[in-house]
Every structure is written in C-alpha cells, then in structure tokens.
C-alpha cells in the first residue's frame, strides 16, 4: 500500500461558480424579488441614461461663439465657455487675473510638501500657511501696497469668491472653535455656560438669518461711522456660525481622549495651557481631522447662500448669466455646470476625508 505524500494541485473552481453568467445570476437574479428589482433598475437606467448622455455629450454644442451656433437638441456649452472669465473671477479686472492665479498657485506649491512623507518641516510650513499666507493672499488679491492696484471686494466673485469664503471661514473658525470646545469642558461654570449658550445659539439658527443679521444689523451694533465692507460682514457671520459647529467637532475629539492622559499631564506638573497645548490638543485634533474636512465640505456648499445678501459667488454669477437677454433659456446648462463644479470639489474632499480616516485609524488599532 502506498500513500501519496505529494500535494495534488489545486483544482480550478467548478464551472457553476465562476464566470460572468454566474455572477449575474448570483448578484442580480438570485430570487424572484431580486429579479424584479434588477429589471426595474435596468428599466430606470435605460429610461434616464441615454437621453441624459445624448443631451450632455453627443448632441451638445462644444464650439462656437454665438447663440446661433447652438444645437437645439442638446446642451449648449458655448454659453458656459463665453462666461468662463466671470465664472472664475467675477468682475475682477481681466488684466489682473494673474494675481488670484498666482495666489492659488502659491497655495498649491506650499501644500505639496505637506503630502511628502520625507519632508521634515511640516509643522513650520503648516503654521506658515495658516498664519502668514492669508496676509500674502490678501495683499495679492486686494492690492493696495507694493505698487499693486487696489481691486475692491465688490469686484470679487465667481469660483474665486466661493473658495475665499470657505477657506477664510474654516481657517478663522478653527481657533475660535478650539477655544469654545475647551470652554465647554472647563471646570469654571461661567466659562462653561457662556460657551454652551454661544454654541447652541449659533447651531440653532439657519445660516441665512445669520448672514441677514450680519448684513443688516451688524452696522447697528458698532459706533456710528464705522463702516464695514459687505464681504467682511459676510465673513464675520460665517465665522461666528462655523465656529460653533467646529467647537462641537473638536469637543468630540476632546471627549475621545482617555482620562488618564489628562491626569498624567497634571501629574507631570504641567499647567492648563501646557497640558492642553502639548498633550491633549495634539491628540484630539488628530482624531477630528476627518470631522474638520466634513465641516469644510458643509461650509463650501453653504457659501452659496451669500447670494441672498448680494455677493456674487459661483452660483450667483450663474444666476446673473441666466438673466442675460442674449442667452435666455439656458438654465439647464448653467445649473448643471455649477452643480458639476461643486460636486467635483465636494466629492474629492469627501474621498480625501475617508482616506484620511482610514490612514489615521491605524494608530489606534490594538
């Protein structure tokens, strides 16, 4: 009798378990109910997708200059192309477009090293971007010194304004939010109650009333003669509003830090600012980075509301373009394009947030 000690080669999976037909059968037609649902879904796709693709791509007009070039059947993207300057920069003078361009390129150039693992001075660079760069950006876009011509804020608009509003909103609300979150967890009852009232107040009212209040009532609150720029008023409103949400995000991080960390830092003899700044906040903020990105996405979408107080962000510029008497009736194109731009930004950021969450999560696995 002999025993075969050699391993026999793995057999291929049976034919009933592989192949596209089996996959379809398993995933789409496993039961009667499933089959009905699959057929309904296919019907829906067939009903919606071909006309949509036809409108947006195949029958669409891509080149030309006037309305006469447009194809009746599909979308007319010439309308968007004609307005591209305004969509990007609002009423910013065309010969000065290099200034916002330079500002944006500078930011991208500064951000690149942050994503390089080997780069050692990330903290310094991050501090530079958060603390110094905003002033550089302001002088570049607004002008007024170093021989740059002043471009007043009422000429800012389009995608540029949308980005400025959301970037300033998030950068300004972060420190305020951290202070509020610390205050809400303070042992001193006065600080705690003031922070709770502040946070719950701003979180309880819609942004639109905040912007409205910022544009109508803020001038009433300050001594006569003090005049605020409209954009600055909107930014103050957005920052106040956003800082309350930011505070709740940061609070989530603070609560996630085990009590032992607080006790250990006290045992080391650190005072409150040091224990927070050196022990607690670095851990807590790392935990809430995905939350901060999500807040940023929400803010990015919410900036469209400034059109109600008369600022010309991306959506307002599209709305304005739609009222042009030469290009009436291109609502579909205008809104679809704006939706696409917003979607690309938000979707990219949400993917980034998910990736970040996965990357940061490894540090806490046991």
């Amino acid at each position: 009798m002999s025993v075969n000690h050699r391993k026999s080669p793995n057999l291929p999976p049976p034919a009933s378990e592989v192949g596209i037909v089996v996959w379809i059968k398993k995933n789409l037609f496993s039961t009667y109910a499933n089959s009905v649902m699959s057929l309904a879904a296919m019907g829906l796709i067939l009903l919606l997708l071909p006309p949509l693709l036809d409108w947006a791509f195949f029958s669409a007009t891509w080149s030309g200059t006037t309305r006469a070039d447009c194809n009746e059947e599909g979308a007319c993207w010439i309308f968007i192309a004609n307005r591209m300057d305004q969509i990007m920069y609002g009423f910013y003078p065309a010969e000065l477009h290099w200034r916002p361009n330079l500002t944006g390129l500078l930011l991208i150039a500064l951000m690149i090293p942050l994503f390089i693992k080997a780069f050692k001075y990330k903290n310094w660079l991050g501090a530079f971007i958060l603390l110094i760069y905003p002033f550089v950006a302001y002088f570049l876009i607004h002008g007024g010194s170093f021989g740059l011509e002043v471009v007043s804020t009422n000429k800012w608009g389009g995608l540029m304004l949308t980005l400025i509003l959301s970037a300033v909103g998030i950068v300004a609300s972060l420190p305020l939010g951290i202070l509020l979150a610390l205050g809400r967890r303070s042992k001193m009852p006065m600080f705690r109650s003031v922070c709770i009232v502040y946070i719950e107040f701003w979180r309880g009212i819609p942004l639109i009333t905040v912007l409205f209040m910022a544009s109508v009532m803020l001038p009433l609150f300050f001594p006569e003669g003090s005049n605020f720029d409209k954009l600055l008023r909107a930014l103050i409103g957005i920052t106040m509003f956003q800082s309350a949400y930011m505070a709740e995000v940061v609070r989530g991080g603070l609560q996630a830090i085990p009590k032992g960390q607080y006790e250990a830092s006290e045992a080391l003899g650190l005072n409150y600012p040091k224990s927070m700044g050196l022990i607690i906040l670095p851990q807590a903020l790392k935990l809430v980075i995905p939350g901060i990105v999500n807040t940023f996405i929400a803010l990015f979408k919410d900036t469209t509301l400034v059109l109600i107080i008369g600022l010309f962000d991306l959506l307002a510029i599209i709305n304005l373009a739609l009222t042009d008497s030469e290009w009436l009736g291109f609502d579909d194109e205008g809104y679809v394009f704006a939706a696409f731009v917003f979607w690309v930004f938000c979707f990219a950021m949400s993917r980034y947030s998910i990736a970040l969450e996965a990357k940061l999560h490894t540090g806490h696995k046991r």
Partner: protein, 395 residues
C-alpha cells in the same frame, strides 16, 4: 520641633497661585468683559437707531400690513396685521418642514436599505443617488427644480393630466380635494375613538403576552381600529363627503388642492438633499448591528420579518436616532432657503417683506431667531427623550 511642624504643614500657596481664587478671578474678568460688550452693543444700537429714526417696540405687530401673500394656511388678506404675517410665515415654514421630514425619511430609509441590498444594480444605483445629491449645494438644487424643471412645464391651458383628476402645469400641481359635508364630524369622532381604543388594545395585548405568552395580532388590530372602524362609520353615516376636482377656468385651474411650484420645488429639493444624508445614517445604523444578532435571532426560530422587526431595527434605531435628529433640524433650518425662490416662509415674509416695510430689524430678527431656536430645542429634546427610552439599560 517647631521646624518639623512647619515642614509637615504644607504652606498655603500665595493668593495669586491658589486655583480657587484664580478661577474666581478669571470668571469675574469674563463677566466684566461680557457686560461691557453687551452694554456697548446696546448703547451703540440705541443711538444708531435714534439717528436713523427707527422706532422700537412691538407695536407694529397690530398695524395693517397691506400686502398679499402667495400662499397661506390661515385667512390672510391685505387688511391683516403684521402680526398675522408672522403667523402665516410660521405655518408655511411648518408645512415645508413637516412635508420635507416625512418624505425625506421615507426616501432616506429606502435608499439606505437599498444601498445595502444584495442586488448589485440596486445597491450601485442607491450609492450613485447618495453620492451625487449630497455633494451639490441645496440652494443650487432648489434653483434647478424651480427655474430649470418646474418653469419649463406647459401652461395651464396645455396642462398635463396625470390621471385621477391630477393636473400638473407651470402654475403648480393641482390635486382633487375632499370637501366635508354636514355629518362628517361623526367620522372624525370615530377616528379619535379608534385611536384611544388602539392604546388600550396594545396595552392589553402586551400584558396578556407577558402573562400567558399568547400573541395577539396587534398590527392588524391597529389597522382595523385606525382605518377600518372610521371607514365603516363613514359608510354607515351615508358618506358625507364629496371630492372636488380642479377645473380649468380662464387661465388657471380652480378647486381642489393647489400646490404652488415654489412649495413643490422646495419640498422636492429638501427631500432629495436630506434623503441622501438620512440614507447614510440609516446605512451606518444597520451596519452597526452585528451580523451575529441576525444569526442568533434566526437560530431562536424567529422568522426573517420578525427578526428584522424585533431584533435588528430596535438596535439599529439606537445608532440612527441621534444623527437623524440633527438631519431633521437641518431640514427645518434649511427650509429658510425658501426665500431665494420667493416661497412665503417665515424668513421671506416676516424677515423680508415685513422688515422692509417697518424697518424694525431688531425685533423682527429676534422673533425669527426665537422661532428657529425654539424649534431646535424642542425637536432635540423630544428626540433625546425618545433616545433615552431606546438606549441600552446597563446594569
């Protein structure tokens, strides 16, 4: 000896190093700062208002408004007061919020479950819906539905008939409406009786099951008491209700229930936008329940439906409710975007037209904010209470 005594007794810290006094000092500083801040704001506001000739007080609420409102759930005409505009705006906001919450919940739960479906196609479609619509600003979606879709519908003369007497055109959606005749109140009374009876029936059924283990068909009985009983009474009392169909008169339809396109666009956009967020919370909630729970409940002999109803959903709800609450709050607050397309909600009517006519910014803004704050606190406290009843009772 005396040296030892002083060494054992820790020297009390200096006053400025004592944490107790420090805390008091910082809090006193905060109070002084706050008082000064509010004092200067109030002072500035009063002097600014005086120099601009703006009057103060709530006297304006009883004055005649003198403008019309597109849609109102209560009687309103140009002779009504400014106070009445507040009520009209409040009710319109409430209408949008209730409709939106109801529909977004249905859509969100459906899509959240669909995204977890075994059916690949259905799951991918639901994912696409969620990823597309939650990443586009709500205001843009409202504009799209209002200006691009609803404004492109045929005129009232060429109205689209959707069957059952439903008409759909550029002026809005027209539905057949019920008109109650005399004697209909009996049916309403029957419904209330059925509602109360349902409570007692459910309690009795629960007690009986606790004592004897026998189950009672609670679901069917509830249906019978809430719908069957009023229907029988309605039929027995001679069906005292007629249905009024919308009819084209001149350039527009009259009769039935008219839904203005502003409301339609707003509810549609709020539903689709919030539905995408609710779908994500529902998915997270269902995924949070361990698969072992399903297996264990099936092993206990529960049917699929029972295991879903008695084991999975109660546990998933625990995870779903807190974020769901904040979605409901968001929807209510987002309904204020109505003002962008001219739907007469609280912000549009009261903070818009009424404020422009009276100029009393402080009072009107305060009243509007008070409404949203109250709604926020109310919804979140009700949800917190519900959450408490659902939460795990730990030993």
């Amino acid at each position: 000896m005396s040296e030892l005594e002083t060494a054992q007794k820790p020297s009390s810290p200096a006053v400025w190093n004592n944490p107790k006094y420090r805390a008091l000092f910082f809090q006193a500083l905060l109070i002084v700062g706050l008082v000064y801040f509010f004092y200067s704001v109030v002072n500035n506001t009063l002097s600014n208002m005086e120099s601009r000739g703006i009057s103060t007080g709530f006297g304006f609420l009883t004055e005649k408004a003198g403008f019309g409102i597109l849609q109102s759930l209560v009687q309103f005409n140009e002779d009504s007061s400014y106070g009445r505009t507040f009520i009209v705006g409040l009710m319109n906001t409430g209408l949008v919020a209730v409709l939106g919450i109801f529909m977004a919940t249905l859509l969100g739960f459906g899509m959240g479950v669909a995204r977890l479906s075994n059916n690949w196609l259905v799951a991918k479609l639901a994912t696409m819906y969620i990823e597309i619509f939650r990443n586009i600003p709500l205001l843009l979606q409202i504009f799209f539905w209002y200006f691009a879709v609803l404004a492109g519908l045929p005129s009232a003369r060429n109205s689209m008939s959707l069957g059952l007497g439903i008409e759909f055109n550029v002026r809005g959606l027209y539905l057949p409406g019920p008109v109650a005749e005399s004697g209909f109140s009996i049916t309403i009374v029957a419904f209330i009786i059925g509602f109360i009876a349902m409570f007692f029936m459910r309690r009795w059924a629960r007690n009986r099951q606790d004592e004897t283990g026998q189950q009672f068909p609670v679901g069917w009985s509830t249906l019978g008491l809430l719908i069957g009983f009023p229907l029988v009474v309605f039929w027995a009392s001679g069906m005292p209700m007629s249905i009024e169909y919308p009819i084209l008169k001149g350039f527009n339809f009259a009769g039935g229930i008219a839904v203005v396109p502003e409301l339609l666009a707003l509810v549609l956009a709020l539903t689709i936008y919030t539905g995408a967020f609710i779908a994500e919370t529902v998915r997270a909630g269902i995924l949070a329940v361990d698969h072992g729970q399903t297996e264990a409940s099936l092993a206990l002999g529960l049917k699929r439906g029972q295991s879903m109803k008695l084991v999975i959903i109660p546990q998933a709800m625990r995870v779903i409710i807190p974020p769901l609450t904040s979605q409901y709050l968001n929807l209510t607050k987002n309904s204020s975007l109505a003002t962008a397309i001219g739907y007469p909600d609280l912000v549009n009517v009261f903070m818009g037209t009424t404020l422009n006519q009276t100029g009393q910014a402080i009072e009107i803004t305060a009243m509007t904010m008070a409404v949203y704050l109250t709604a926020s606190l109310l919804i979140s406290s009700v949800m917190n209470w519900y959450n408490k009843t659902m939460a795990i009772v730990e030993r």
